[in-house]
Symmetry: C2
Subunit: 441 residues, 2 copies
């Protein structure tokens, strides 16, 4: 690919401080929920904004697991970042990889050697998976953060059924028909629920030698219950709903090994050829760039106004930062929290520019938790409202469609869901990249 | 990936001749248009069928260029092969790679070491691109045959605009904004038309430093006119419609070199960082497997009943074979021709099994040619009917929607087209795989 050569050739950047633009320059690294909200909240604020992301698209991560499980197409939950800002001439989008920040000279350093000056910097680079010191597990049990992660997991799930169909040794065949999801937060619960539905309802008539309904789907959690962030009665309901769908719950014991042959849970080894990691997250390397103090997960510890200690012009928000909520607990790594932080920082920047008094410290307002388990089953916890079952499932679906960007995606996702709901068929059952052509020779 | 290990372990196959099934066993290699039609036409014929394909999906190739140009999602034009045959217990689908055929012992040999016996073999493995002895050009100018090809071209197109936005040297920037499509058959014309629309209508408001409307889109053809298979007046119309859309036609001179820096056309070197190959095709290696005589493009020369000379139980159909039409010209490599051959071979197999007299030699019925140039412009040539412009465009669109498989895909494609038509926006503008994360370090 000619990209490396190309960026190496590029010299001055459009927004480098050599350019003669008197406006206050806000540089945002990362166009996830936090970064996007910040830019939206800075509309007509008089600043100029540069958004840097290493990908060309904003991703609606809460539905990524549905791409991994063949329900949605990649383009239904991802939008080109620059098209989101097409009507904002104050915003410049850069597809580039950041490798460091010079906090003293206020420069963001890019991997291609260029650098970009800023007046205010907002770091919103999100998180990756944490394997608790076992990074070698990633090859066996990939996590789910990017579109590529989702298509990788989709390929592995579908290939496992194909391999089981070809396998004649019953023990080996069962290993191909065993699926392990590690971590029983919302993503893990949603993944396990859909994999069970895929095996039990979508695929079984397609195969001739295996009965996909015999697949073993395990949800593995070191803690004592699923959906630990929810009240206990909703956890109990979710566990029951998972079991009814044929998901086996392995609670209270950590995964102690993870190989291509299977998983070790506590002392027990379970043959299992397909695993997905939905357990811990680690922040992006932003703390290292900033020379800042990070917590155990690498998240930057920020001031009450979300600035980096000692650097009033640098904010760290979203999953990259660790912030205490009003109850003393850390603010959770979910989309609404990231958006609130983006909106808050926009307010701080506006008050600084107009010389008004700074707003009070950032205060997280928890709106609620939602998780779906499968067709007709979900849990919703919003303040005093606790829902489960069909109604919760509709609330979950409508909320997610509402938060998608644009009529196009809302219609497409609604149609995909309706189709899956009515026919039980998933439309995105594609094995792409690394198919037999590439991997088998 | 654990696949290699898995297939190496697999022993006997479900349909190997050791299995005690008295039914006549038809093995089909390739689930493209020809293979799929064959299986459909063999419904209730009393044979058992094994379909072998190295991919898990059937692909609607006529619309693949719309995936490459960000209009359609991959899953809108591809379907899992085994789900197409879910209601056919007589059909077994194998995801496997064929590496040879033992014509004497009637065995298909798979890359994993297994082999599958057959009573009748139908080879329908399609074609790849031909670079006329310059295989090194493929890296620079990829062709468009698979979903991976389409996402690769999509990534390159979008990356070229991104790189142009970052480039400050005007000459280099213009090279990034130059796009060469090589070959002016229907695929080349359709690609060039949409790339021009993408640059002129879809992208221009998204960038800040470049004017994407200044992009140079070249359609390069060694022959004297575009759409050589069409009558001359329709070619003239198509050329005019392309020019109106800003496509530059370079006709009558072959591409003589193809590098990452640009294309040499005749003696002239044109800087151009993105090229797509839509010129020649070469058949799959089936001729080699069969030890058969191939033409210059590697297509197997078959008997009038589409059998391999000297092997009445082996048929070769679709783009893998070369067959003369009633006018003495070779049958074109298009979907209707492949389908007719599949249906014909099913008829031959049926008559053989029932002892009825063999049908007459295969006779290709040409139904017509269609090609689209861009929004509101297409050409249709069906017998005496010649259409151009808006009406032809609607005919083209409806015909393609009609030939898609299933309500799901028809609705999704119709909706995607309607959206693009009304808003000018393309929904699948995603750069995936080989993004900065992977390629830039």
């Amino acid at each position: 690919m000619s990209f490396d050569r190309a960026v190496a050739q590029s010299a001055d950047l459009p927004n480098s401080p050599t350019e003669d633009d008197p406006r206050h320059h806000v540089v945002v690294i990362g166009a996830g929920f936090a970064g996007l909200q910040l830019v939206q909240s800075l509309r007509k604020s008089g600043v100029r904004i540069t958004v840097i992301d290493q990908r060309n698209h904003h991703l609606f991560q809460p539905l990524l697991y549905q791409v991994a499980t063949t329900i949605l197409a990649t383009s239904e939950i991802a939008w080109p970042i620059r098209s989101l800002f097409r009507d904002r001439p104050d915003v410049t989008t850069l597809l580039a990889r950041v490798c460091g920040v010079d906090v003293t000279n206020r420069q963001v350093e890019l991997a291609d050697g260029a650098s970009i000056g800023f007046d205010t910097l907002v770091v919103a680079t999100g998180a990756r998976h944490a394997y608790f010191g076992h990074d070698e597990w990633e090859a066996t049990a990939p996590g789910l953060k990017t579109l590529e992660d989702a298509t990788t997991i989709r390929r592995r799930l579908l290939m496992a059924f194909e391999q089981a169909e070809r396998e004649t040794d019953p023990a080996k065949r069962q290993a191909f028909l065993s699926f392990g999801v590690i971590g029983a937060g919302p993503t893990g619960v949603e993944l396990a629920g859909i994999i069970a539905e895929l095996a039990r309802h979508t695929l079984w008539r397609d195969f001739r030698r295996i009965d996909t309904r015999q697949a073993r789907v395990m949800l593995i959690e070191a803690g004592p219950r699923v959906l630990a962030a929810f009240p206990e009665d909703l956890s109990t309901y979710a566990a029951e709903a998972l079991r009814r769908r044929g998901v086996e719950l392995l609670l209270g014991k950590p995964v102690t090994d993870c190989t291509a042959e299977g998983l070790r849970i506590g002392e027990t080894f379970i043959p299992c050829r397909t695993a997905v990691w939905a357990a811990g997250v680690a922040a992006s390397p932003a703390a290292t760039w900033l020379g800042a103090k990070g917590d155990r997960a690498g998240r930057v510890e920020v001031q009450p106004d979300l600035t980096l200690p000692g650097h009033a012009g640098i904010f760290v928000i979203g999953d990259t930062a660790t912030v205490k909520g009003p109850d003393g607990h850390p603010v959770p790594g979910i989309a609404p929290a990231a958006k609130q932080q983006g909106a808050y920082v926009a307010k701080v920047i506006r008050t600084r520019l107009t010389g008004k008094p700074a707003p009070a410290a950032f205060r997280y307002r928890h709106q609620g938790n939602l998780a779906t388990i499968g067709k007709g089953a979900a849990v919703v916890h919003m303040g005093r409202l606790r829902l489960r079952g069909k109604l919760a499932w509709w609330v979950w679906g409508l909320a997610h469609i509402f938060f998608l960007i644009g009529t196009r995606s809302r219609t497409a996702v609604a149609f995909s869901w309706l189709w899956t709901y009515l026919t039980g068929q998933h439309s995105a059952r594609l094995i792409t990249q690394g198919t037999l052509t590439e991997s088998n020779e």
